[in-house]
């Protein structure tokens, strides 16, 4: 399991990767403070041929499926590429699709396309069902910066999330198609207020919830998972020092400097 840490941005569009200089984008993201990103690849219902996973050294790839319900099941089982994606997001376009997602699809993110009004009727029950399954709701901020109608749709949808589920399990990601639309994590926390999130929720949406997405995704790819046990090769010196530090803190809390200077001694004392 890779170690993931914040901040997260789960929707960098594929265009960023191909049309522009990706290293520049990457640099900018790191500068802004992002540590985990996902590249978004959209798979439409129309072309069911799975795309190859791109290998560019980024932590993980994402795919959006627009499912006709039956097609997806066929797809999940048959396509070997499906498993290569770290995170799967779904973008339902009909009422049927969202209901199917509630009951059958195993994915991580429920996305929303701000080009159109929300095409299905969400209910409180469905919202909670999806949360129980470990879904997260995605809010994209880049389209909201870019365009007036998309902004209205996005705000409306996020307010719907607010009124149905108190904005539980909401993640904010960029959905940026160009470098110009990326914003720093702290700006996003401030931006959260127009999406009906409190400051704490907004912060969680790019840290805590986003981490949960990753954990869920790992769990999904390995079947039903509760715990993850891993063998770590570790430097023995390093671990000794850690132990000493802990012990030391228990014994005498004011003696931090000494502990750093003479870790070995402390160990023997114990």
């Amino acid at each position: 399991m890779e170690v993931v840490k914040g901040y997260f941005d789960y929707c960098i569009s594929e265009q960023c990767l191909t049309s522009e200089d990706f290293t520049k984008t990457k640099k900018l993201l790191i500068e802004l403070g992002y540590r985990t990103i996902a590249i978004n690849q959209i798979l439409e219902e129309a072309n069911l041929e799975p795309k190859k996973k791109k290998k560019k050294g980024e932590p993980r790839d994402v795919i959006d499926i627009v499912p006709a319900p039956i097609d997806v099941t066929k797809y999940e089982t048959k396509s070997p590429n499906y498993k290569k994606y770290h995170i799967i997001a779904i973008l339902p376009l009909t009422q049927n699709a969202v209901q199917f997602a509630c009951s059958n699809i195993d994915a991580d993110i429920l996305s929303y396309d701000p080009e159109n009004k929300i095409p299905y009727k969400l209910t409180r029950k469905m919202y909670n069902q999806l949360i129980e399954k470990g879904f997260h709701y995605e809010i994209l901020y880049a389209p909201a910066i870019q365009d007036s109608t998309q902004r209205k749709n996005m705000i409306q949808t996020s307010h719907i999330y607010h009124s149905f589920g108190k904005s539980k399990n909401v993640i904010i990601s960029s959905g940026a198609t160009s470098r110009m639309l990326l914003r720093g994590p702290y700006d996003i926390i401030n931006l959260g207020i127009i999406f009906g999130l409190s400051e704490e929720q907004a912060k969680n949406s790019i840290l805590h919830c986003a981490r949960n997405v990753y954990l869920n995704a790992i769990g999904r790819s390995r079947g039903k998972t509760i715990m993850f046990v891993e063998n770590i090769c570790e430097n023995s010196d390093e671990s000794n020092r850690n132990v000493t530090k802990e012990v030391d803190l228990l014994l005498e809390e004011d003696d931090e400097e000494m502990e750093l200077e003479q870790p070995a001694q402390k160990k023997t004392k114990q």
């Binding site: 209205k152 996005m154 705000i155 409306q156 307010h159 719907i160």
Partner: protein, 150 residues
């Protein structure tokens, strides 16, 4: 079960430069559009997006010029604050007066009933024949539009 709270705003649309009793004929969609435009002007995209869910505006009665607006609790403040600023609907110079803000359609209905009765009595004073009065009552007490709003 938590429910959605709504607010129902009863307003009277009076046309400037016209007589009190004159009827004002409006298209069904135009009030909705006028409010949306004004909110856009005052609160921008955020305001429009915030009120969009569950927002309806119905013009109910041409004789007494009553309109009922339904909007979610919370963003209803955007609407109620935008209403006094509306100056034109369909290029007619108008003035909006909020009469009542209620939480249920039933309370609104009670209020409107009393209000219409009052108006009816006012109008009646100018009329003589009973047939005319009956026709007036028919047109004033017609709430078909209102029942659609719920």
């Amino acid at each position: 079960m938590v429910r959605h709270k709504n607010r129902y705003v009863v307003t009277v649309i009076s046309q400037i430069e016209k007589d009190e009793a004159a009827a004002l004929i409006l298209k069904p969609a135009s009030l909705h559009a006028a409010i949306n435009n004004k909110v856009q002007q005052l609160y921008g995209d955020f305001g429009v997006a915030a009120i969009a869910a569950g927002f309806t505006a119905k013009y109910c009665n041409e004789k007494t010029r009553i309109a009922v607006i339904r909007v979610r609790h919370g963003p209803h403040r955007f609407v109620t604050s935008a209403l006094p600023c509306i100056k034109t609907i369909e290029n007619k110079r108008v003035k909006l007066n909020i009469l009542y803000v209620g939480a249920t359609i039933k309370q609104c209905f009670k209020f409107i009933l009393v209000y219409q009765q009052q108006k009816y009595d006012q109008f009646c004073s100018k009329l003589k024949s009973d047939e005319e009065k009956a026709a007036l009552k028919e047109s004033i007490m017609n709430f078909d539009n209102l029942s659609k709003i719920t």
